[in-house]
């Protein structure tokens, strides 16, 4: 099994690195926007506090992650099913989950490269304190856990009755909704719990926040653990049970 996975990962990683367009949406665009935003602050003579820096970084990381996971992992699986790649590869490898992980692992490496490059830019511009610098490092390491969980979160898309031609419409709405919801601060613990359960961006930001400040740290650690484990299980069940047959003509 491991040998099969390595063969697939080696193949997928080489191809993924050849495809430079992925860096456009999840690195070049956010980096360009970050530069414009920083230039505006500089021109207006505004200084960026540690809190602002952290909040800005959380927002950019959330964007990179949700767009990257959706475009490079979940939608790739969706398209692989629609064009029969999944059927073919599953019959060759004997297990759908191998195909999923062979896609997830190289894309996680790519996303982490993108986040690292973005962080490097942020460090050059912000010249952050040691504390913020450590936070950037810790959050980057956390992404190795968060990327698979976010990916499992979004794997629900794979069992929804969505056709290829309408997929981009739903996705645009989904990205807008997750990022908007992630930007809203809920004072109510009940609402905060709800959005953490349903929104991967809130889940991600709450996890990062653990290393900044959180008033209910025990509760939030418990919540994040339960939600994270639930999505890992759910994601794996969805992937192993998802149909190999294309939905295009259904």
């Amino acid at each position: 099994m491991f040998r099969k996975l390595v063969s697939l990962i080696e193949f997928e990683l080489r191809l993924a690195l050849e495809d430079k367009v992925v860096f456009l949406y999840t690195l070049m665009f956010p980096a360009a926007y970050f530069l414009v935003m920083s230039w505006n602050d500089f021109a207006a003579g505004r200084t960026t506090s540690n809190t602002d820096m952290v909040n800005n970084l959380f927002g950019f990381w959330s964007y990179i992650m949700i767009v990257g996971v959706l475009n490079q992992i979940t939608i790739t699986m969706f398209q692989m099913r629609e064009n029969n790649f999944l059927k073919m590869y599953t019959f060759i490898s004997g297990d759908k989950r191998l195909i999923y992980y062979a896609n997830l692992i190289p894309q996680m490496v790519i996303l982490q490269i993108e986040v690292a490059l973005f962080d490097l830019l942020a460090i050059i511009i912000y010249r952050p304190s040691t504390r913020v610098l450590s936070l950037i490092g810790v959050c980057w390491l956390l992404n190795f856990v968060l990327i698979p969980i976010i990916s499992f979160f979004t794997s629900i898309i794979l069992v929804l009755p969505i056709k290829s031609k309408t997929l981009t419409i739903y996705l645009t709405g989904y990205i807008f909704a997750t990022l908007s919801l992630g930007a809203v601060y809920f004072k109510s613990p009940v609402l905060n719990t709800m959005v953490t359960i349903i929104n991967p961006v809130d889940f991600q930001q709450n996890t990062y926040s653990l290393f900044v400040y959180h008033p209910h740290v025990v509760f939030i650690v418990l919540l994040l653990t339960i939600v994270g484990v639930a999505y890992i299980i759910l994601g794996n069940v969805i992937i192993s049970k998802m149909s190999l047959a294309s939905r295009t003509n259904r």
Partner: protein, 225 residues
């Protein structure tokens, strides 16, 4: 391997199979024939377990892990070269050792370093059939394997498929081509109106329809219903 009394309809309400019965022979290449839209691919999807295969109707078929299935379209990654693709397939299928250019068959060596997306439809199909035929499985399913191929390549493909059967493996394929299935190494099953209307050897098919070629026999059979 046999299918007994299998009934199935599409979600649109259209009935596809009505009490379908079919016998597949282990020592022959089984060829599903029939007009477009009669459900040949759907039947392969059931046999392969892509669609849920009920044991009540399907008897003697191996499980998912023992099946190799070539879908009708040619799904490989366009940016990968033929060699990279074959190397990946061999790695995934459990090939031990290092896969080299010299391990490719003669017909693929000349195109080994060409990207899959730059190959013609026929060359792509050839790569896929070669990849599938290298897998060690009990049952091989091919959906129109020689479709879109020139006569020489089509013959190569059919020889490869026959070679799989001669290795003691079971083979079921669909086809609309007759030039390479005209000997009694093949077991024909003519599907129409939800049922197998004829099953037997090519010579039996010719005799039954009183035809001199399989194409004529096919057209006669098709016009009956």
């Amino acid at each position: 391997m046999e299918i007994k009394d299998f009934t199935y309809g599409l979600s649109s309400g259209r009935s596809l199979f009505q009490s379908l019965n079919a016998d597949f022979l282990d020592d022959k290449v089984n060829v599903l024939l029939g007009p477009n839209g009669v459900g040949k691919t759907t039947l392969l999807d059931f046999i392969s377990t892509v669609n849920k295969r009920e044991p009540t109707y399907f008897h003697g078929f191996p499980n998912f892990a023992r099946i190799a299935y070539q879908p009708q379209s040619v799904p490989f990654i366009y940016e990968a070269t033929v060699f990279q693709t074959m190397k990946m397939v061999m790695g995934v299928s459990g090939f031990k050792g290092k896969f080299r250019h010299t391990d490719l068959p003669a017909e693929l060596k000349t195109i080994a370093d060409i990207k899959y997306g730059e190959l013609s439809g026929g060359q792509r199909r050839l790569v896929m059939i070669d990849a599938i035929s290298r897998l060690d499985r009990e049952l091989y399913l091919f959906d129109e394997p020689e479709s879109g191929l020139d006569p020489k390549t089509a013959k190569q493909v059919m020889q490869k498929i026959q070679g799989i059967n001669q290795r003691g493996k079971k083979v079921i394929m669909t086809s609309h081509q007759f030039q390479n299935i005209n000997n009694d190494d093949y077991h024909l099953l003519f599907l129409k109106a939800g049922q197998i209307q004829f099953s037997g050897s090519p010579s039996e098919f010719l005799k039954k329809e009183g035809a001199t070629s399989l194409v004529d026999a096919y057209i006669k059979q098709d016009q009956l219903l």
